[in-house]
Symmetry: C2
Subunit: 329 residues, 2 copies
């Protein structure tokens, strides 16, 4: 049945200027022939790939899952597909990540920490006009599309909770120093301690990297001393769970003899036992939001060159891993 390519194109794309009869017929035939249009050709002409990248480091799996699921939630039923581009040690080679992203043929990219805080990277992708959204950046907050949370305030909240329970000897397990979040959360701890008139004991501050294994080692080191802390503030849930395990392995029961608080409200904080007191960082919602803004920019609904910032709220979740300080004995 004579039909020109153009008519087929119009019919399949629900473009105007095609009679209903022809449109239906064309669709039937296309289905019968298992015809799927060539995306590369469409991309070439449309000048868009409908690919959105997500780049992250691989610190805590639970964090990455949330991040990715948030983005995927937004992309569902959209034409856009998600390309995952993990990349480690961005801080030492931001230009390599930049090249990777620019060569990936993306329409836009979601930048998780710590890539979102690399000015060199931002410069590169801006120069190529690759639209991007940054998830919880801590510097240059007026640059690009930003989805953020006040992590200083969040750190303050959880530290204040521990202090309010009466704890004074508090161990701290920091996250990966290359993540600005580690500093921000620590800054919040500092504020809370200052307000309470309590000094932070530097010998009780250990540096982790957001993973369970390192968190476990740091926690053991903190707890296996003559005068041990009565509480531990961990900068994410994985390390908090590790601290609980380290405590148990030393014969300490949580929360009776040791209070532990985490950060993130990731899945593991709920499946841990006892359930973890933590700060909800709505990663999934933020990732959704970032994807949402990015799509809006790609669809021309907002100008990606104009910075935009949306701050999400944190929330303290008091669960079973923290309790009031009991006098020893």
């Amino acid at each position: 049945m004579g039909v020109t390519p153009k008519t087929v194109s119009r019919a399949l794309n629900d473009a105007p200027h095609v009679s209903q009869a022809v449109r239906v017929k064309v669709k039937e035939v296309a289905a019968a022939l298992d015809y799927y249009p060539n995306l590369a050709a469409q991309s070439l002409i449309a000048r868009r790939s409908y690919l959105i990248g997500l780049t992250y480091e691989r610190p805590s799996p639970s964090y990455v899952v949330e991040l990715q699921n948030g983005a995927l939630d937004r992309l569902e039923n959209e034409r856009y597909r998600l390309v995952v581009l993990p990349f480690n040690h961005v801080a030492s080679r931001p230009d390599e990540l930049g090249k990777l992203l620019l060569r990936a043929g993306l329409d836009g990219v979601l930048l998780a920490p710590p890539a979102c805080d690399q000015p060199v990277l931002l410069d590169m992708i801006e120069r190529q006009r690759l639209p991007y959204a940054r998830i919880t950046p801590h510097s240059d907050l007026d640059r690009g599309l930003v989805v953020a949370m006040d992590e200083v305030a969040a750190g303050h909240t959880v530290a204040a909770h521990i202090l309010a329970l009466g704890h004074r000897r508090v161990g701290i397990i920091l996250g990966d120093p290359s993540h600005a979040a580690s500093r921000a959360r620590m800054e919040g701890y500092h504020q809370a301690f200052n307000e309470a008139g309590v000094a932070i004991d530097g010998s009780l501050v250990g540096t982790g990297d957001f993973t369970y294994d390192v968190g476990y080692r740091v926690a053991l080191d903190l707890l296996d001393r003559p005068v041990r802390p009565t509480a531990i503030l961990a900068q994410n849930d994985d390390m908090a769970v590790a601290a609980i395990a380290a405590g148990r392995d030393l014969g300490l029961s949580v929360p009776e003899q040791l209070s532990v608080a985490g950060f993130d409200n990731s899945e593991v904080s709920r499946t841990a036992w006892p359930q973890l007191t933590t700060v909800d960082q709505p990663v999934r919602e933020m990732a959704w939001d970032a994807a949402n803004r990015l799509i809006a920019a790609l669809e021309g609904e907002i100008d990606p060159a104009v910075s935009f910032k949306h701050e999400h709220e944190h929330k303290l979740l008091v669960r079973a891993s923290t309790a009031p300080l009991c006098p020893p004995g």
Copy 2:
């Protein structure tokens, strides 16, 4: 400096017939100009997108992470990029997933359970000549590129371990019934019980869906009875961890009063306390392997139409969540 597009193309692609001087010069200029070739145009002519899809359901996050990381490990430093395509309830609408995959402009696709066991889906993508690799399928094992593990044997192994410890009243938490793995693992349990001359108590068999929350409810139901099981076999680690939590919430200590074994050897099995006895299913290696075969097929090194199967080994990991049965009292 006068150079034709073709020369540039040759130089940038390290194709022959370009003088070294020109090649270097072209590359310099390209770098200075921040030139990145248009992937859509390259794809159009090469008839390949260098996109590999990964499709999965979202049962256990820990499983998905392993799967994805395995594939990403293989794709690192390759030209191929990974597109993640989660899709729920495949069993009830395999053709929709088929369309999604065929419209995604992929060069090949990795099929995780339960999509890998959908003949309708396989038919569709075969008809369009979309190369695919199946990860732990349980039917039509001679179809396509297959990476497998004997889950019946794995189920047998872990059940035999529990029985060897003296347990006779054993609760079982099944996974999602739409996953063939659930049946296979149960079949293994059956074999072990038969060999031990122990009957499986149907009233102690509950159906979960591989998630922590449902696993917790099923475990509570199993444990909150006058005559409770002394051990629980859970079909994945998330549900096993949930069973431990349910036991604790009922005042049972693990493994003294309740032994719990999982399946998968996922991250959570190591971060749980006590650490989980489980069966190692090398998901990450299998995903790597699947990606590896798929790439080989795409590069023409193997014929994707000829079926290929590689079976991976399982391994029982006896950790702290299982112990010999103690006589009551």
